[in-house]
Amino acid sequence: MHPRPARPRSAAAGAETARVPRWVVAVAVVGGLFVLLPIAAMALRVDWPRFLPLVSSDSAQAALLLSLRTSLTATALCVVVGVPMALVLARTSFRGQQLVRSLVLLPLVLPPVVGGIALLYTFGRRGLLGSTLGTLGIDIAFSTTAVVMAQTFVALPFLVLSLEGALRTVGTRYEAVGATLGADRWTVLRRITLPLVLPALVSGAVLSFARALGEFGATLTFAGSLEGTTRTLPLEVYLQRETDPDAAVALSLILVVVAVVVVGIAHRVRPLGALRAAPGGSARPPGGHGRLP
């Protein structure tokens, strides 16, 4: 239909695409459409005149606020727990480390509902720890705490994964130099290691937040669904779909927008980290590189 764009206009880009067979590009475009079309189709279904009333209803607002509150808490927990986990995995070596690394990443590949069942059998009222917690007077069944736990469980691997990768990429050279100059372990960690991987930490935290925000299966199984207490935005969408599909679509679009923003932030931060790590790359001590996954 359209004439081909004039060649000189994108000489640099042309030089790059010339290396890839055209059918590869065609398949890639189809794959891209496969991801984008459903999002576009959903946006087309939004009842725009009613959009604002739909997303600002009391139940929608309660769900959105709860989602933001719990996801932020879960992200904070992921950082507090995940940074030490990534450090231990990247900077120490112990027997069975490979196995531990795989197990830590398990929530990433588990169906969320399975995660919910696992949490239920651990922290539920009849779970492994639940009865002990119960005698201590701690009851997390149907509480916002249960939501945060479900979100942390599924989001933690994102933070550990991105941070551990960054730690291995920057290597231990600067840390070794710092140590020879008399810095103790805590100073090395605080003044050298963490600043080096800060971009990866930020992008990992952002991804964890996104995962926590989208958590559905584990929350539904483990925490229940009560407005203002445990009914997060995805659960509200699920419930609205039963009665008012228009509202469900409108709320879904909000989640899509948040996801797009989050992915955007994570991508803006990540290349920075790669650039900063690059100069050290040539002088990386042996061993730091060899065990890259």
Partner: protein, 255 residues
């Protein structure tokens, strides 16, 4: 490149559909006795048995079953899913399908269902009545009022003059039952038939006023059916004596 891309996209699209003419036999073709029945999830056990009995009673017929929540099924039907019979767990869902002009005939009421309190088999909170479930400190779970089982639960509470303070309002009755079987909740309002299905994991506690909140299940043949005769026969079979017996055994009441 754009032309090549269009060809690929069209190719993919062509693979996705069977073509409008090929798959479906001419309407009113009585020789093809295969039908697809969309039925509410709560009908899973009785309709699976009923389909077997129907195929035995009508040689040459073949019944494919699709179970899901009634509102999910309404969604699928209004998006054009091919089906011959729709059996809903509530009259509102059937009304939506009727509004969309998808019914071949008036729906027939073929079963009823009422609510019961399900408690874990050891009944940790010692619940014997709906009033007990309303005691402070009792973790009771119900369906959200926006879904049919929740609307019914609200009617029941009004009739019994009891105000439950639920710790969770689930989107589906199976989620309510799950909270009870796992012991997370002390009690949940579910259908009588759900208590039967759950077996030994839960105990059902009858509610005096259950009769004032009755859910009616309607069934109807669909307008787009490729085998309208078989579809009609299945509707009559399910609402007739055989259907009544099978559904009664599963705990459903007569309409």
């Amino acid at each position: 490149m754009p032309a090549a891309l269009a060809a690929v996209v069209l190719g993919v699209a062509a693979c996705g559909t069977d073509g409008p003419d090929a798959a479906r036999p001419v309407p009113n073709d009585a020789s093809d006795g295969s039908i697809t029945v969309f039925a509410a999830a709560s009908l899973t056990a009785p309709f699976t048995e009923l389909a077997g009995q129907f195929e035995a009673a009508y040689p040459g017929s073949q019944v494919t079953l699709n179970f899901a929540g009634s509102s999910d099924l309404v969604g699928q039907l209004s998006e054009g899913a091919p089906a011959d019979v729709f059996a809903s767990a509530d009259e509102e869902s059937m009304a939506k399908v009727a509004e969309a002009d998808l019914l071949a005939d008036e729906p027939v009421a073929f079963a009823t269902n009422t609510l019961q309190l399900a408690v874990p088999s050891d009944n940790p909170a010692g619940i014997t009545s709906l009033e007990d479930a309303a005691r402070p400190g009792v973790k009771v779970v119900v369906c959200a009022e926006r879904v049919p089982c929740g609307a019914l639960a609200a009617r029941l509470q009004a009739a019994a003059d009891v105000d439950l303070v639920p710790v969770s309002e689930e989107s589906s009755v199976t989620d309510v039952l799950g909270k009870v079987t796992s012991g997370q909740a002390d009690a949940g309002l579910v259908y009588v038939t759900d208590v039967r299905t759950a077996g030994a994991a839960v105990r059902g506690i009858g509610i005096r006023e259950a009769g004032s909140a009755v859910n009616t299940y309607p069934i109807a043949a669909l307008a787009d059916s490729a085998s309208p005769a078989t579809a009609q026969e299945f509707v009559e079979f399910a609402s007739g004596p055989v259907g009544r017996a099978v559904l009664g055994a599963a705990g459903f009441g007569a309409p």
